[in-house]
């Protein structure tokens, strides 16, 4: 059984950022493996250890994304494909989905796994778009995966509780980061990753015109969030401040 994990290099959202004249400026150019994708890799690696599934990763990104790919290989993925983008422009979810769908068309696979969203943009669209383009049964927001014969069993977080969903293969699934704590690559994994193959693929070779992508949605500007002012802090005798704040919630905030 073969897993393909679609991974993405994203900016470190915890690094300091600024906005100047509507432009987003990152103070560092530190890029990381999207945390949700890391969880998808981890879950596949656990299934690899249990059932011997194959784990391949595919990443759309500029040349620098090879660092992100190496990390996935160092965690334990078997091989990788790097779909090289120029890095000149931001793709929207639909563009990522189109490129991935073109890549997977005609490929052999059982399960496509993706992070449920990217930690920088939080859109959460690409996974189900890819499934729709490829005509695959799918589910999203997985918090647990298991393989039974040629079926994928997904525990997903839904609106009313956790749903246990059985999917025939081939299928697609998007993963939450709530299902595991992704392993940190050890030295052996890092050394081994250097010998693992990374295929490079040009977007144009997939029959896609890079210039025509991201036509429908565009980020036009960034702005600060309306700041929430810190209110008053109450310190002192617990009994006293607890009662005081309860009173204020009633009389001042009108929140009771």
């Amino acid at each position: 059984m073969k897993f393909y994990i679609c991974i993405k290099m994203v900016p470190d959202v915890y690094a300091p950022i600024q906005i100047k004249e509507g432009e987003l400026i990152m103070d560092t150019d530190r890029m990381v493996l999207n945390a949700y994708d890391a969880s998808a890799i981890e879950e596949a690696l656990v299934l690899k250890e249990k059932h011997g599934v194959e784990v391949e990763v595919v990443c759309i990104g500029p040349a620098k994304a090879s660092e992100t790919i190496r990390k996935a290989l160092a965690m334990g993925a078997d091989k990788a494909t790097h779909i090289l983008s120029s890095g000149d422009k931001e793709y929207d979810s639909a563009s990522y989905a189109k490129i991935l769908s073109a890549f997977f068309t005609g490929k052999e696979y059982d399960i496509l796994a993706l992070g449920k969203q990217s930690q920088d943009t939080d859109s959460g669209l690409a996974g189900s778009m890819v499934a729709e383009h490829l005509g695959l049964p799918y589910t999203t927001n997985a918090v647990g995966l298991e393989v039974e014969g040629n079926k994928l069993i997904v525990k997903r977080q839904g609106d009313t509780g956790q749903e246990m969903i059985e999917l025939p293969t081939p299928c697609a699934v998007t993963c939450s980061n709530d299902m595991n704590n992704p392993r940190i690559p050890n030295l052996k994994g890092i050394m081994a990753s250097k010998r693992k193959p990374i295929d490079q693929v040009a977007i144009s070779s997939l029959g896609i015109d890079e210039a025509a992508l991201s036509a429908d949605t565009k980020v036009v500007s960034y702005e600060e969030k309306p700041a929430r002012q810190a209110g008053k802090k109450y310190e002192g005798e617990p009994e006293e401040i607890a009662r005081q704040v309860a009173q204020l919630l009633d009389t001042e905030a009108n929140a009771l």
């Binding site: 979810s93 499934a131 729709e132």
Partner: protein
């Protein structure tokens, strides 16, 4: 006349308030732009919700009723939504950003060749499409995104808009729907429900949220009592859902639920950025934490510095007194 369509989500036999918030907003902007404001409801008992939806001003309510919609499954929901879109050809189709919506939004956009903006804090109509504000970078900043297309799909975070009643006699349009078992390739084996009658966090007027400071059954009991006193929903930080102290469905934050109640009481929560991303839009925030430097105090209207085990009993008692 072009149409602005709102999806009305049904969960556990009830209309999601967040869907009506979106409909209220669509009514406002749709009327201003001279669009036909319509709604669609898809459920095993869809027709029974029409009356409730009419109060919010839809001129037409499209009803898709079929037993397959008893529980959320993406294949039948997608088929129904695509059928309604084909029939109505809305220029804008708006959803409340529920887990059910997130499950199908991308697929629907791909199916309909529509532009899509997910999980927005607000949106407006512009020439040829929609402009929206979205929180990004762990909700530290907002971006303005434009979608220009004949069809634009948008999903809206709960609590983004107020409910506005404007009763209308809506035309009810029954949409024929059939689905063959072979079209539903996935099987829903079971639903493991959270703790039964708990209050839905997306709908709750008040939320009491527990964090790492809540260490034991005594702490949980205090949280439960405070929630009961306020008729509040109970939420938790990732630390407590991951360690199994609270059910995963109660997690509030960037990866869990994004909530915006009238009153949010964070108990023993330090206020990691991922948590704050899920609750910073609450109207009034109270934080109880023994660390005076905890980041949660930066977003709290009322910060109580102290041990929650000593603070909560008199706090609960006082609220009981006030509520009589």
């Amino acid at each position: 006349m072009s149409t602005i369509l709102t999806h009305i989500a049904i969960t556990d036999g009830k209309v999601k308030r967040s869907s009506l918030e979106v409909l209220s907003h669509c009514k406002t902007i749709g009327d201003a732009a001279g669009l036909s404001v319509e709604a669609v409801v898809i459920d095993e008992n869809a027709a029974s919700f029409v009356e409730g939806i009419q109060k919010y001003g839809a001129a037409k309510v499209h009803v898709v009723e079929h037993p397959v919609f008893k529980n959320h499954m993406n294949a039948p929901l997608l088929k129904a939504l695509a059928a309604v879109m084909n029939q109505v050809s809305p220029s804008v189709f708006a959803f409340a950003s529920t887990e059910g919506t997130k499950d199908i939004l991308g697929a629907l956009a791909a199916n309909q060749n529509a532009a899509v903006i997910a999980d927005v804090a607000s949106f407006e109509l512009i020439d040829g499409g929609v402009k929206a504000k979205r929180p990004v970078m762990a909700a530290k900043i907002m971006n303005n995104t434009e979608a220009k297309s004949e069809k634009v799909i948008v999903s809206v975070r709960s609590g983004s808009y107020d409910l506005v009643e404007s009763p209308a006699d809506a035309d009810v349009v029954h949409v024929d729907f059939n689905i063959d078992d072979s079209e539903i390739k996935a099987t829903l084996r079971e639903i493991i429900s959270a703790a039964g009658d708990t209050i839905d966090l997306n709908e709750a007027e008040a939320i009491v949220a527990a964090g790492r400071g809540v260490k034991d059954d005594e702490g949980k009991a205090l949280i439960a009592e405070l929630a009961r006193t306020l008729n509040a929903g109970i939420g938790a930080s990732r630390a407590l859902t991951e360690s199994g102290v609270y059910d995963p469905s109660l997690q509030i934050g960037q990866t869990g639920k994004v909530v915006s109640p009238q009153l949010y009481i964070a108990v023993g929560i330090s206020g990691a950025i991922q948590h704050v991303a899920g609750m910073a839009n609450s109207k009034v925030i109270v934080a109880i934490n023994k660390d005076p430097d905890a980041p949660i105090f930066e977003v709290a209207d009322y910060g109580i510095v102290g041990d929650l085990y000593k603070i909560l009993p008199p706090f609960i008692e006082e609220i009981k007194k006030i509520k009589g």
